[in-house]
């Protein structure tokens, strides 16, 4: 598999968007496309065609799970690996995310210095 270059980040909190973007772009050297909601992500995913989608779970409107399911039904996006980023990291929750088809789960708060590496590791594992 090729290297991870483009990541779509779906996060509703603007400050977190900034932190993630900085962590992935300035620290991790990735290209980041930030979307504020699940709906926005779905609308843009075909055009952006990211290698991986970093998806917040708790969001107003479509939450992470709903967005993932919608992505899986899109021919253009069905195969894009999705990594959840959430404060909800109880074991049963992680299992639920995996079952839903998540490639991995990152917990909040995250370390911005290793975020890109974490994503790359997950991406490579697939």
């Amino acid at each position: 598999m090729s290297d991870l270059t483009t990541v779509m980040c779906v996060e509703d909190d603007p400050d977190l968007q900034d932190v993630i973007a900085l962590a992935l772009e300035d620290v991790g050297g990735l290209t980041v496309d930030v979307r504020g909601s699940g709906e926005a992500a779905l609308a843009a995913v075909a055009a952006v065609s990211p290698d991986l989608i970093l998806l917040d779970v708790m969001m107003p409107g479509m939450d992470g799970m709903a967005t993932l399911q919608a992505l899986r039904k899109m021919p253009t996006a069905a195969d894009i690996p999705v990594v959840f980023m959430t404060a909800k990291v109880q074991p049963d929750e992680i299992a639920a995310y995996r079952e839903a088809g998540a490639a991995g789960t990152l917990s909040k708060p995250f370390d911005p210095m290793t975020l890109a590496d974490d994503l790359r590791r997950i991406y490579q594992r697939i």
Binding site: D15, V19, V27, P112
Partner: protein, 1095 residues
Amino acid sequence: MVATTQDIKGERPPPKDGGASTRARVMRTAVAVVLCAGIAFLGNRSSLPLAYGVDLVFGSVGVMLAVLLAGPIAAVAAGIAGGLATIAHWAHPYAAMILAAEAVVVVLLYRRGLRNVVLGDLIFWAMIGVPAILLVHRGLLGGGWDTTLLIALKGTINGAFNALLAVLIASGLAMSARARTVLRLRPPELTHIVFAVTLAALLVSGAVPLIDTAAGVRRLQENHLAERLHDQARQIGRQIPDGRPITDERLQRLLDAAGFSRWEGAAVIGPGGRILAQSGRVASVREEGGVLETVLPDMAIWLPADASAAVDRWRQGRYQITNLISGTPGVSVLVIEHAAAPIVERFQAERSDMIYFVADLFLIGLLLAWAASRVITGPLVRLKTAATTLNTKIARGEKPDLPASNIEEYRALTATIEEMAARLSESFQEVTSARADLERQVRARTAELGRFKSTLDQTRDGVFMFDAERFRFFYVNEGAIHHIGYDRPALLGMNAYTINPGMSRASFRDMVAPLIRGEQPWLLFETHHRHRLGRLIPVEMFLQYVPDDPMEEATDARTAGDGDAPQEGPTGRFVAIVRDLSERRRVERMQAEFISTVSHELRTPVTALVGALKLLESGALKQKPEKAEHLVKLANRNGERLHALVNDLLDLEKLSAGKMRFDFQVHALADLVPPAVESARALGAERGISVGLDDAIPDIRLLVDAGRFDQVLGNLLSNAIKFSSTNGRVTLSIAPREGMVRIAVADHGPGIPESFRARIFEKFAQADSSDRRQTGGTGLGLAISRDIVERMGGSIDFETVEDPNDGSDRETGTTFHFDLPVWGGDAMNDDEQTAHLARSEAARTHGPVLLVEPESPLAARITRALDHAGQETIWVTTAVDALAELLRNPEIRAMAFNVDTPDATWPDLLATFSQRQGAYATRLIPFARDPSDENGLMLVTDRFVHWVARPPGNGDLGEIARQRDGAGLTAGARILRATADPSAEQDFLAKLGSLGDVSVVTSLSAARAHLTDGTPDIMILDLSLGRTRGTELLETLRAARPTVGLFLAVGEQDESHVRDTMRAALLAGGREIADLVSALDPNRSAHDKKKGAAE
């Protein structure tokens, strides 16, 4: 006297079979007529001679018997029959007419109510009989006055005597039960019996010897005469030669020579009745039309056969003897006569005397008999009359009205009856009261059962009962109906397994089988029920089998028996208590969601903050200072967000736990509003949003915590700004009304969606959580605001207009407003303000009393009593209302509260009250409902007797601390714990130590010693101390009460009624409403007040 059939007939209901009964009546009457007529006829044919020509006849006995026993028809018939007999006897019809008239008159009088036929008969004779005899004998028959009067008198006596005989006979008959049945009579009245017997006794004792003497004299004379006449006949006979014939001349000479007086006459009669010789008048031989009656065996009397009275005929009568002459051929009989006149006339005077004497005797007898009957039976009759009202008197508990009597027997009887009546009355009252009591008990029991059922009916938990055979419901309560959605009739036609979608009849039977077999006492499980509308309801089900009562079973077996085989299968009942878990599940879900939300809400800023700091720390952005600066700001912002969130969460927690302390002070509204407006203006200025105040701030004051007020108003203002569009306008308006002031904040934002309005005051309930990010809110502001406003005695609400999406250009926006009580009541102008201040001044000594009492009847009575004492009362039913009233009304100078007011905010109420106490010398009078008197109350010490369930746990510590604070005890309180087993509550005792100095005693005597010698502030007493009862300590506690500040009783849950007993035992200031009023008297000094409240 004696009732006749006719009398009784009227009192009877008409018989059903009219024909048969009429026939029977006619038959009876016919028999009576025949009998009475027969008696009358025979009675007039028999006679008892009183004197020459004066005989007693008995025909009217039949008439009187008919009057008494058989009715008017029989009486008249008897009169006629008796009359017929006299016609034959006396050869004139007058006696018959008089007898018939006698029958008619007496029967009429009898039916008119004169039951004494003797008197009735006398009345007849006085009015009709005597005049009729005078007319007949003197007028028509030409009798002498003497004779006529004699006949009249005799008739009267004879009639009355016969009536008397009839009364005696009828009374005798009526005294026989058998005769009564046959003749349909009532028992005789004693009055009549006494009357008749007395009169008869007098007559018999007086008249009989006289009549007997008279009869003796007459017999003597007649014997003498007979002897003399026979002597003469024998002398003549001796002169007639035997065996040889004798000539008529010779016989004539013999007779002539015999020397007969002028009264005498003699005749010699030959065979064939030829008169051979005669001297003087010999009426019996010579004269036609006379009758010869025998008076002695050897003497007869000849009486002329004319229509004159018997007395006159006797006077003309001639005694006669006949002597057979045998042996002389041609001669048969010698007849000698002697005129009766000299004898009769000689006896006439005596006869008259005798009749007059008998008449006198009769008259006196009547009076005596009447008097005797009155004297003897009068009290009895009065007793009888009194007895008819005895029933009602006894029933009413009145003294019976019994006649006094001078006769000992009656007096004793009266006394006995009186005593009996008194006792009867007593026991009647007892029975009545017992019955009333019983009825009351039944009513109470019925009501209790009704309440019980009504309680069961209204229980929120669903209660189903169904039989064990078909599992068919036979009882469902309201909770069950509400729970499952079917109405009662529908449910009662359903089976237990049909409401459970996971069950079939077979699986249900399997499930309950262990219950029926008694292997398991009950089942408790969670399952689902299907609501009528289809949705599944999570439920917790408690299922128990109640076997039939063996007694009932026996009865059932008997009734069900009847040849059938005993019923197969169980006959008991199931009771299922079903608790709807939907709400619990919802709460659980909400709690989980809340925790999840809090976690998310906290992690988001933490993530941003930590991420930004790490990025900065790493130096990765050293070359990009603008990005680093952005990150610093970002970190700052999220730090503040986190701070605000943590603050709000802590506020919320304190508010919901009731631990947030409010610093209540009176503030002018004009001081409270501007700071919040200033802050809001600063906030709005960033986005060009103006914050305007519609009106001038009214000059009113509020009792609030200024900081909290600012928090609420600031929150509403910042919300309005957040939801306003740029350059929008937020408006603040203030409107006092009805003792409250409304502070409203209006924006022109998008409005609140309909679907969201119900949740607006919930935590993290922003319509769109992205708003939170945009606006920087925590999502907790409104929840906090609502709690704060309510704690300050107010309320909060909103109005909103949402964009209707219908193209109309209606202006959208939301107005949040909160109302708070105005300190000092209604808004007022300056004059009113002055007056109000003056009133307030006065109210410091004579302000209203705040009464906190949940039950209106008791509250009404207390209010009335206070009103009567000139004290104004403000009544509220809950502690929340009391709090609002206390905050609103500065004039309240005292508070009387029922310590059992079921309200969670007691501690707040007490705290608020004690805060005000210093300023206004308010007084606190706790009371409790008197357990022994439904409407009573008792003043209790404000060192309450409280109840704690055994074993006391850490949960009770908070309550103990609160009560300790409420009672004003210090943190260093001395606590005495009496328990038999301290080892069982080590943990509790250790924690109790944080509330004060704890002493533990394990016996009653030790506790008593402690109470007597030491001075504990708080006593926690276990109701069972080994084998002794903690209640035995009450006396000691009462004595030690002033020093024991707080008393807690510890026992089983079901002993909580003991608390009431303890309260009663330790009551502080009496148990009357008057005591409460007196304790609230504004004229008692502050020092007294405290003492009054405590005692």
